[in-house]
């Protein structure tokens, strides 16, 4: 009989066993549990600086504590609450120039004039992320289009995205002045974060709906469309039969009318 078996009736044995079991359980859980992606190292200074930036630049619509405003009353402008949107939403909205919004209109359009430096955006993101857990900024590897499968991504895109963004990612109209923007020339990171956070009218496609592999596949598909170019010539906005039909009517028929006039003329 070995030493371990001899002590199995010791009064502390049950407690030791329980401790070992709990430790193993905890270790196993931390190994398999889904964890929110870490967004670099965030210090308390970043959070407080971010809060100051937020209150100076964003609070007029989103409220002093990012609690949001349901409806705009008086000169106050309505803005949604930012608790739980995460650093990814802040990064997406601000680094694509959508926020701060230039005017309280139906659509926050993408803009090339980005008002804040990357550090300031990261600080505001750190503050917003400190309010409630939310999606973090994805890593380089998660958005690398060369690692995705464009064929699978195309299938997912056609089911989940194409109804608003057009089957080739050219964008399209929504209700009452809103629209789904074109997805051409959008940074892979921004495509990822848009799916993750659901900006403006767009629904959320979280990791339980389209996991990070699926998101990377979709990015790979969009980049393959972008790289494919237009070997057939003029793309006419890639909007399909409407613009193509109009082109044929105006230029094709115009040319035919001109030829018909020439045919009917007598030679000099």
């Amino acid at each position: 009989m070995n030493a371990l078996a001899a002590r199995r009736r010791h009064p502390a044995a049950i407690a030791v066993l329980l401790l070992i079991g709990l430790f193993l359980m905890g270790a196993a859980y931390s190994a398999v549990a889904p964890r929110p992606a870490e967004a670099g190292v965030v210090s308390q200074d970043d959070v407080s600086e971010g809060k100051q930036l937020f209150q100076a630049n964003c609070a007029s619509c989103h409220g002093l504590n990012a609690e949001g405003r349901k409806t705009g009353s008086g000169d106050a402008i309505a803005g949604p609450t930012l608790a739980g949107v995460g650093a990814a939403a802040v990064d997406f909205q601000m680094s694509t120039g959508r926020m701060p919004m230039r005017a309280p209109t139906a659509q926050a359009p993408r803009s090339d004039t980005i008002k804040f430096s990357e550090e300031d955006i990261a600080k505001i993101g750190a503050y917003v992320a400190s309010l409630a857990p939310g999606p973090a900024i994805p890593s380089e590897e998660m958005v690398d289009p060369t690692k995705g499968d464009p064929a699978k991504g195309g299938e997912l895109f056609r089911v989940n995205c194409a109804m608003c963004h057009n089957s080739s990612g050219a964008g399209g109209a929504l209700t009452r002045g809103k629209y789904a923007p074109s997805l051409m020339d959008v940074a892979p990171k921004d495509i990822y974060m848009a799916m993750e956070t659901g900006p403006q009218s767009m629904p959320v496609f979280n990791d339980t709906n389209l996991d990070s592999t699926a998101k990377r596949d979709i990015i790979a598909f969009l980049k393959s469309v972008e790289e494919g170019g237009n070997p057939g010539g003029l793309s006419l906005g890639r909007l399909g039969p409407v613009t193509e039909g109009m082109f044929a009517w105006i230029f094709g028929l115009g040319l035919l009318v001109g030829i018909a006039v020439w045919l009917g003329k007598k030679a000099a």
Binding site: G172, T175, R176, K178, A180, M202, V204, G232, G233
Partner: protein, 368 residues
């Protein structure tokens, strides 16, 4: 004497009719018969008069035909010599396949050269004297017409058709009924009657052919196209899932036919945003499932705006309010989207609690 002197001398305009006088019959009178003005005098063309102009026209036509030959040669050369992946920059268009450009330009020149050359030839060198050939009378001679009437009356009478009406009526009946065997296969060729299949979907318990209604079993809601089940906890607020019933994508055939009726959109709203009690009751904690098939003409209604909770159909802009049981708030659709009653099974997966209570998609005659 020019025109103006004539009008002044004859007092032209003195009897002019004012605009408010109505119709006044003029004094010029109308001839009994308008004279045929005939053809305008023939004007000879440049090539008819001078041999130099004719020679020039000949060269132009020959040039156009040569252009066509060059176009064809360009087409053939581009087909064999240019790689399809070679891209070339075209001003106003951007990068595009060089071979496509050369093939298009070559074929365009080849056809246009022939066409323009032929027209130019006809207009400059072929004879252009206008000639009119008068139409001869169409009427047969009186003798011929009388003979036809005589044959119909006398010779036809020998068939005794007018004396024996029974023959006339049975022949008429046989001839008109004979259209049926021609018509029937055409109608039959349209396929079997849809019967119940228009009102049933895969959610009723399986493939819904024209036969009997399958027995209902709760089915899991599966992601399209991954074909994986969805847990209620997976659906966060603001999410939208494109859903098919369990087993549909595993069908061996008829997948598209079933998908066209059974496609469902799954959304999660804040329950306090939902105005309809029935919508809350048929959902699960703010998760609601609605048919994705528009009630107007059956397009997939997939454009969900999570901010306004509007659901937009891309074909004709019918807009449905997801907070109010998908009632129509804009556009040509007449009925709200049918809701699929869902619940959660023992393992936490979303399942259907009953099939659609009404037929999905556009209206049809037998729709109950």
């Amino acid at each position: 004497m020019n025109d103006q002197d004539i009008t002044a001398a004859e007092g032209f305009g003195k009897d002019a009719v004012r605009l408010d006088e109505g119709h006044v019959v003029g004094q010029g009178g109308i001839p009994d018969r308008f004279e045929n003005p005939g053809l305008p005098p023939h004007v000879p063309r440049g090539a008819d008069l001078s041999e130099a102009a004719a020679k020039r026209a000949e060269k132009q036509v020959a040039g156009l035909f040569t252009l066509s030959i060059l176009g064809t040669v360009l087409f053939v050369l581009a087909y064999f010599l240019v790689d399809i992946r070679t891209m070339a920059y075209l001003p106003g268009i951007g990068d595009m396949s060089l071979q496509h450009v050369l093939l298009g330009v070559g074929m365009g020149l080849a056809l246009l050269g022939i066409g323009l050359g032929a027209v130019h030839w006809a207009k400059t060198l072929m004879p252009d004297e206008e000639v009119v050939e008068m139409r001869h009378p169409m009427r047969s001679s009186d003798a011929d017409r009388d003979e036809v009437v005589r044959i119909m009356k006398e010779e036809g009478g020998k068939a005794q058709l007018s004396r024996r009406p029974l023959l006339k009526y049975t022949l008429g009946g046989a001839m008109s009924l004979f259209a049926l065997p021609v018509l029937l296969p055409v109608l039959g060729g349209l396929g079997p009657m849809p019967q119940k299949s228009m009102s049933l979907t895969f959610w009723n318990g399986g493939p819904s052919g024209p036969g009997e209604e399958p027995a209902f079993t709760p089915m899991r809601l599966m992601r399209d196209p991954e074909n994986t089940a969805i847990k209620a906890s997976d659906v966060t607020i603001g999410s939208v899932f494109h859903v098919l019933p369990e087993g549909l994508l595993d069908l061996e055939h008829g997948v598209l036919e079933e998908k066209a009726k059974a496609a469902v959109l799954l959304m999660r709203l804040d329950p306090s945003d939902i105005k309809s009690q029935k919508e809350l009751d048929w959902g699960h904690q703010g998760i609601v499932a609605y048919s994705k098939i528009c009630t107007h003409v059956g397009c997939p209604v997939g454009l969900y705006e999570q901010g306004t909770h509007h659901l937009l159909c891309p074909c004709h802009q019918s807009t449905f309010d997801v907070t109010d049981d998908c009632k129509v708030i804009f556009g040509p659709a007449k009925r709200p989207l049918p809701q699929l009653k869902i619940t959660v099974d023992d393992e936490g997966y979303l399942v259907s609690a009953q099939p659609f209570r009404e037929a999905v998609g556009p209206s049809f005659w037998e729709r109950g």
